[in-house]
Point group: C2
């Protein structure tokens, strides 16, 4: 129940590893035939990903993950001019947020956009923040803590109307293949991660609409058309391709799981749903909820005794004491300190939701009694 942190790799990848280890481990940059095969396979997977995005143009650059993809896009924008302006949401994932903060420290200015009462970012609000100096707007497709779904095509279009030269980047790590999406012409960069959709950790990709002159983040060999140096992680890329081809993430099924969870939570006393509830404003894969009086981490460990694993915010920032995202959402302290994240994957079932709800009810009853003594 913490699939937003990572997912179990698809079974089919086991066979792919065997093939890699036997016949497909060659360096794709070498000049003999097995290397050319490895190189062609990567190019086929680029096409598979472009097709999954419904893109009719653009290029896929493979990276070491969503974090590197976000860094690559944002640092490219910063390389265009010695100073300028960035616009991001206040609830970006750490990898986008920290990169923009580094850019800010280097002398660029940044506007942070707050979500509206429905928990999403409004295109108008973003456009109002864009000015002549804005180098890039970077906005999450789906928020990793609440599941808030932003209409990034609409945001990107508004941004381009205000300043056609401004790059638009979306962190699509929690959105790619989890919500219906056709990448629009106004989107210049879109970050993806393999291990969130059944691939393995250590591989990501960046969709680049216009690959010409993309500034590399890692310098070195001419791999990835000069956009990303380093011997390609061909096994990770193969697994990524398989995850995209064979993904069985089902929007309607996820919606049914979400509804069953929300119905159950609503019957628990003093519970608060922190995820957006309005139609069109959420991904069904992530639900954020608070059981008042029970601290997030306490509930996590209580459920762990029953072999149920949930999340508290982003795993990437799980060891931090304060939560920037909760602040951005304006959660009251008693709600913030008890917020947990439940997130579905391909294997999640309604039965699992029911088992979890019983466990939650049992555990919070014990924990609340303990607290009130």
């Amino acid at each position: 129940m913490d699939n937003a942190a990572t997912t179990k790799p698809l079974n089919i990848i086991k066979e792919a590893y065997k093939q890699y280890a036997e016949n497909e481990w060659y360096n794709p940059s070498a000049l003999y035939a097995p290397s050319a095969h490895a190189s062609k396979k990567m190019d086929d997977i680029r096409k598979t990903i472009l097709t999954a995005l419904h893109a009719h143009t653009g290029h896929i650059v493979f990276t070491s993950g969503g974090t590197e993809s976000n860094n690559l896009a944002i640092m490219h924008a910063a390389s265009v001019a010695k100073n300028g302006h960035f616009v991001i949401s206040a609830y970006e994932h750490a990898s986008g947020y920290a990169t923009v903060k580094a850019v800010e420290q280097a002398g660029y200015t940044v506007s942070f956009i707050m979500p509206n009462d429905d928990g999403i970012i409004e295109p108008e609000t973003v456009a109002n923040a864009v000015n002549e100096q804005t180098l890039m707007v970077s906005m999450m497709h789906v928020n990793n803590e609440t599941g808030a779904l932003n209409d990034i095509n609409a945001i990107a279009e508004k941004v381009k109307q205000k300043n056609a030269k401004t790059f638009f980047h979306a962190d699509g790590v929690q959105g790619f293949l989890k919500v219906p999406f056709i990448i629009g012409d106004a989107i210049d960069f879109y970050s993806m991660s393999a291990h969130k959709i059944g691939g393995i950790k250590g591989t990501g990709a960046l969709y680049v609409k216009n690959p010409k002159n993309l500034r590399a983040l890692l310098y070195g060999g001419a791999q990835e058309s000069g956009m990303r140096a380093g011997t390609e992680n061909t096994f990770g890329i193969t697994a990524f391709g398989l995850a995209v081809e064979h993904h069985a993430l089902d929007y309607d099924k996820a919606n049914a799981l979400r509804q069953r969870l929300l119905n159950g939570v609503n019957q628990i006393e003093d519970s608060v749903i922190n995820s957006p509830l309005k139609d069109g404003c959420y991904s069904p894969y992530i639900v954020n909820v608070s059981f008042l009086g029970v601290r997030s981490e306490t509930l996590l460990h209580a459920l762990e005794t029953e072999h149920i694993y949930i999340g508290i915010g982003s795993a990437c920032s799980s060891h931090k004491r304060t939560n920037r995202i909760h602040d951005a959402l304006g959660l009251k302290p008693e709600i913030a300190e008890s917020a947990v994240r439940i997130s579905f994957g391909e294997q999640s079932t309604q039965e699992e939701i029911d088992i979890m709800l019983i466990a939650i009810e049992k555990q919070i009853k014990i924990l609340r009694q303990f607290k009130r003594r």
Copy 2:
């Protein structure tokens, strides 16, 4: 015979993949027990690598490969001051060379050190180039095209005597576990790559003597003690650990393979050994040789018809027309254009050397006839 480009992954990694896919795929940053297990496993592998380096201090940061490790170390040095001086060898791998060239473009100055007549970099020459402003000296341990072995401990000590504040970084990608080595106190950073020693592509490491205040290259989550953001490639790291533990690279065996190859090559008319020959100046794993009158790529493809794969320079730069390394070595055009790289791995045998020598002799006889017609 192109193991310097990449190696076949060790068989034991197949079983490790199964374990990863079944029970070890959890996000190491999450707070429940299987995640803590994944995190502890990574820490154990850090210790394994430190032990392999015979390091009594320092920290291992996992990266996406040798390229990222080199970028991380060099960019850290550039972050220390707004301007300053770098010293590198003229025959660094593209990932070190291009990073320093990027730093040069940003306004830093760079001295490029040429190898001596034995093909190695002399400590005195390096020290002479170091001044008060030198932020970093970056030198390969083993050159990836010729196998030249530099005494990086001696170089680092001389550098520190000249300027104690200068960082010393070594690209150890072709040296780690291939030549006897005890990391000395004067070395601040040492880059390693898993897929050169039987691991899989997409994982590397940087030894950092003093991890305090290391500037991250990728911004984001607090993974890797804040030194490298992004969900860790736990499978790649596991494979790296296994490769280090089970590595059967045998210096004496490699030396015997090299000697057999050199003996054979010396019996071929118009052949030139481009690798260092002096004792202590070479890694036995890489031999660079020219068969005059036969272009490198032509020989590569001719041998490919007999299922023998050799390299021509670095795979990372194999599609380039000119070879910076050949220039640095001062190779005459007819030697440079026919230079090929033969490199051994764990599985290489004397029989394979003999088969290859027969094939080379046969093919160059045909190709030279063809040329002389």
